[in-house]
């Protein structure tokens, strides 16, 4: 899988938040084989040095880092946060979040497109956290995005793919654009489903970090992603309403 020209071996991307401990985080990455870790920037107090400690932990994971603009509600906040993240993490990649609604954390489609355009023109490689809306997707591509990250369900809900029709339409509309289903997944079967539908990767955090055994769940998701991708590449059969016997009818005993 290529994202902005970078070959990524794993189709599973993991967040780094909410784990019971740094050791749980590291073990989840190890068992999942995830190739990309999302990270953020947050206020640091003088003398705190928590950022340096976290950065050491992330570097030891040996994965690509995708900083986010989580929690930003305006274009200005998102753009400034992205620029601070670029300096801290030394990468042009940014997972662009411009949140438009407090309860659903739904992206603000208008702010998202504007911020994506500003950041693309500033040399960023933007991974927009978006909805399944095909018009919005088209605008984001026009703004310079080469990857789309539609939600499965609202962040942290674990509801899975809540709009199968919308996601299928989005996938079909832009078959050559790398798409990552980002957010809302709860269990590996939902990740497998996204992969079976032809999405290129999935990104999740809470489902692994908040599982009773995070590293086991991380491996479960890795297998779900792999199974779903294999199925997609294998060209699944068409469903049908009427039964069709799989065992040959010819040669059956007692046939008159």
């Amino acid at each position: 899988m290529q994202l902005y020209g970078t070959e990524i071996a794993s189709r599973l991307m993991l967040g780094t938040a909410l784990y019971p401990s740094p050791a749980d985080l590291a073990e989840a990455f190890r068992r999942s084989g995830a190739g990309i870790a999302t990270v953020s920037v947050r206020r640091e107090a003088g003398g705190e040095r928590a950022g340096a400690a976290f950065w050491d932990l992330v570097r030891d994971l040996g994965v690509k880092v995708l900083p986010n603009t989580a929690g930003c509600h305006s274009v200005r906040e998102a753009v400034t946060t992205a620029r601070m993240a670029r300096e801290l993490f030394d990468t042009p990649w940014i997972k662009l979040e411009v949140i438009g609604h407090a309860d659903t954390l739904q992206p603000d489609p208008f702010g998202l497109v504007e911020a994506a355009r500003i950041l693309t023109e500033d040399g960023f490689e933007v991974f927009p956290y978006t909805t399944e809306d095909v018009v919005l997707a088209d605008r984001l591509l026009s703004a310079g995005c080469e990857v789309l990250m539609p939600w499965g369900a609202p962040i942290g809900t674990g509801l899975g793919l809540t709009n199968i029709y919308g996601l299928r339409t989005l996938r079909a509309q832009f078959p050559d654009v790398p798409m990552v289903v980002d957010a809302g997944l709860g269990v590996p079967s939902q990740a497998a489903m996204a992969m079976e539908m032809g999405f290129d990767a999935v990104l999740l955090n809470t489902a692994v970090a908040k599982a009773g055994d995070p590293s086991a769940m991380a491996e479960g998701f890795a297998r779900g992603v792999e199974a779903g991708r294999l199925a997609y590449e294998a060209d699944p059969m068409e469903p049908r309403d009427m039964a069709a016997p799989s065992t040959p009818v010819i040669g059956r005993a007692f046939l008159e």
Partner: protein, 65 residues
């Protein structure tokens, strides 16, 4: 002068952003900065003068989803 650092009213003697970082205990820390919601690259901190009322943000790498 009185400025706001990470949302908290703060008194600093420093005249520049770089000096304020040193005064507030950020010397050598892995942080990024913004003043009044404009990103200030590390290389520009020395020449970035502060004015009373400025809103300074100082952030560092953290966990994210």
């Amino acid at each position: 002068m009185k400025i706001t650092v990470n949302g908290t009213a703060t008194d600093v003697r420093a005249q520049t952003l770089a000096a304020a970082l040193g005064e507030l205990g950020y010397g050598g820390a892995k942080v990024a900065t913004a003043v009044n919601e404009n990103f200030i690259p590390a290389a520009a901190r020395e020449e970035t003068d502060l004015a009373p009322g400025d809103r300074v943000e100082i952030v560092a790498p953290r966990q994210g989803g």
